[in-house]
């Protein structure tokens, strides 16, 4: 029985070390095992789930799983309707979230999400060394090249390839005078402890509105403020902005119901007669405003807990201190350090029409993990990816089917693409799902890349990128009111585009 209680992955040398046991770490470990790549997974937490062990505080997740969607739960198509389950090649491991919903909502409660992730870790036999905290990093030169050394509370791990999946979970507060008088979102207490209080929330993103929504029935008055105006996801036609689940404070504000939403810079917070005074300056006219409150909560976001990686040369950017990354989620400045999970939003892609990738959420980054492992396998372990042959006559139907149903393209719009290449030497090959920027910026044979994109004004439509003789062109297909891209009009339109790359389609003009 000693083996069962023994913690896996003791300190030592491994081909790959993965840090983190949230959805990112679990997903990357799953695909590394599928690829037959030995690795250790270490985590400071006592159990799987990452941020979902703690957050969100109130109500439910922002990501749905629709158990009765028009696809079998164990199929790839179901991934489009299920934002919360991790990906697996084996059908019984797919769509697990649907099992852990009590029927009251298609948005899982936090414990339901945690149970989904724990079930995946257990059923996919993902071995994690829990309670092992990564503490420091250095580089070491050896006879076979450089390696990274991760110092942990259990000892030292050495690997040529490191995958960091520690989330974006370190509370951040801006350096506003008096910020020490505030508490951070991460320290939110039980809702009833806010009964009768005047609350001032700094920040108008989802975390601020989540607190406001959860505390509407408890607080005496709620003020939300940040320098720029707040928009909802319904207005932006994307996940940018405050999600519809948290829209109630907007209505309360519009109806004069005890909620104020201000566009103003916060200049200082100070103590005044047992309460707190927040001094603001309005963004529109620069006029001063003061608000008195019993508590001030900084819902001002989180940063990446990258420890000493910046000192090792990992470039970071933005308020969240995300590492700058290549299209394949490798540090743009320190080769061999890769990222998985929500940190992969630092590889931002094209952000066409202002719409970001959804790598910050599970339904986005789980797809990145599969591609990341394929890339690591090929580049560091010489394992070639699958590139099945395609018959020329099948390309058109295949690509329109992908545009209509492929969960990877729908969840990572204008970010991931289905790629088909053609060359004399190899014939026509399905290159798989790849990052769009990689497809656009790398040299290669003539190819076609299919994406699903949105214009931020309400339209969703397929976009085809052709590379013929080294020249890349973008062709948008028509939108469709029911999102069906397999109509005869789409077939005609795509045929005329494919003709640029595939001879059999030439002359089949619209």
């Amino acid at each position: 029985m000693a083996e069962l209680t023994e913690r896996p992955h003791p300190p030592g040398d491994y081909p790959v070390v993965v840090v983190g046991s949230g959805p990112g770490g679990l997903q990357v470990s799953y695909f590394l095992s599928r690829a037959g790549i030995g690795h250790a997974v270490i985590s400071a937490d006592p159990s799987p789930g990452g941020m979902f062990r703690r957050w969100p505080f109130f109500q439910r997740l922002l990501s749905w799983t629709k158990p009765y969607a028009a696809a079998d739960r164990s199929s790839r198509d179901f991934e489009r309707w299920d934002w919360n389950s991790l990906l697996a090649d084996e059908p019984p491991l797919r769509g697990l979230q649907a099992e852990f919903l009590d029927g009251s909502s298609d948005f899982p409660a936090r414990p339901e999400m945690e149970a989904n992730l724990a079930a995946f870790a257990e059923r996919a036999s993902i071995a994690v060394r829990y309670g092992c905290r990564w503490a420091a990093t250095r580089r070491e030169d050896g006879p076979d090249g450089g390696r990274f050394v991760l110092e942990t509370t259990d000892g030292e791990y050495r690997a040529r390839v490191v995958v960091i999946a520690v989330g974006v979970a370190e509370p951040y507060s801006p350096p506003t005078p008096g910020i020490e008088l505030t508490s951070h979102y991460a320290d939110t207490r039980e809702a009833e402890t806010y009964a009768g209080k005047r609350l001032f929330i700094i920040g108008k993103q989802n975390s601020g509105f989540e607190l406001a929504s959860g505390l509407l029935q408890w607080a005496r008055r709620i003020t939300l403020a940040s320098p720029s105006p707040a928009k909802t996801s319904v207005e932006t036609h994307s996940l940018v902005g405050v999600r519809a689940r948290y829209v109630q404070p907007f209505e309360d504000s519009a109806l004069g119901g005890g909620v104020d939403i201000l566009a103003a810079a916060i200049e200082s917070i100070s103590r005044l007669d047992g309460s707190l005074r927040v001094a603001l300056r309005r963004s529109d006219n620069g006029m001063p405003v003061t608000v008195d409150a019993d508590e001030v909560i900084a819902a001002t976001g989180f940063t990446c807990p990258l420890l000493d990686l910046p000192a090792l040369g990992v470039a970071t950017f933005g308020q969240s201190r995300l590492p700058a990354q290549t299209a394949f989620w490798e540090s743009a400045t320190v080769p061999g350090i890769y990222f998985a999970g929500t940190i992969t939003q630092g590889s931002s892609g094209l952000k066409k029409h202002g719409i970001p990738s959804y790598s910050g959420a599970v339904h986005g980054h789980r797809n990145n993990s599969r591609i990341l492992v394929r890339h690591i396998a090929e580049r560091h372990f010489g394992i070639p990816p699958d590139r099945p042959a395609l018959a020329e006559r099948d390309v058109l139907g295949y690509l329109l089917g992908e545009a209509t149903r492929a969960p990877e393209l729908w969840h990572q719009k204008a970010y991931l693409a289905r790629v088909v290449s053609t060359s004399d030497a190899d014939g026509i090959r399905d290159e798989g799902i790849l990052p769009l920027t990689h497809v656009l910026d790398s040299d290669g044979p003539d190819s076609i890349a299919m994406t699903v994109e949105a214009d931020g004004a309400g339209s969703i439509y397929p976009v085809v990128y052709t590379r013929a003789g080294g020249r890349v062109e973008e062709h948008a297909l028509e939108a469709h009111p029911l999102l069906d891209f397999e109509t005869s009009a789409h077939r005609d339109q795509l045929a005329s585009i494919l003709g640029r790359v595939l001879p059999a389609y030439r002359g089949r003009a619209v």
Partner: protein, 140 residues
């Protein structure tokens, strides 16, 4: 890495934002997003729709048409606004010559941003007028 407060301080010295007061600069820093590009990465792509408006905070970029360099841009310079104002894809690539830190505003947000910050629009118009004058001088 920079916080929005640091970004607000930095862009205060740029000609484009010279007329804004402190809360307005903070509002700008909140509305734009920071982006970082390694050397030789393409930031703007010739012929591709849906791009943004970029202001360079650090670094140098090359403007290239069909691979040929036409000009270089540095700290405080900006690009991408012409294609957004005209609703057409960019006619040039913009490539990072050094690591480049920018702030970016998504294309669909540019019109509302310029109409609510008319002094920024005026500065932009001034820069375009200067370019037009120089182009006319060059032709004559």
């Amino acid at each position: 890495m920079a916080t929005t407060e640091e970004i607000a301080d930095t862009i205060a010295s740029f000609a484009l934002f010279a007329d804004l007061n402190s809360p307005q600069l903070q509002s700008v820093a909140h509305q734009f997003e920071e982006a970082w590009f390694p050397e030789s990465e393409r930031i703007l792509r010739q012929g591709l729709t849906g791009s943004g408006f970029y202001v360079i905070v650090d670094g140098t970029c090359s403007i290239r048409i069909d691979g040929e360099e036409r000009a270089q841009l540095g700290r405080g310079d900006y690009f991408g606004e012409v294609s957004i104002l005209l609703g057409e894809p960019p006619v040039a690539d913009v490539v990072a010559l050094t690591p480049v830190r920018c702030i970016v505003l998504a294309g669909p947000k540019v019109e509302a941003f310029l109409t609510s910050n008319p002094r920024v629009g005026f500065r932009m118009l001034q820069a375009q007028a200067r370019r037009l004058r120089n182009a006319n001088r060059w032709r004559s």
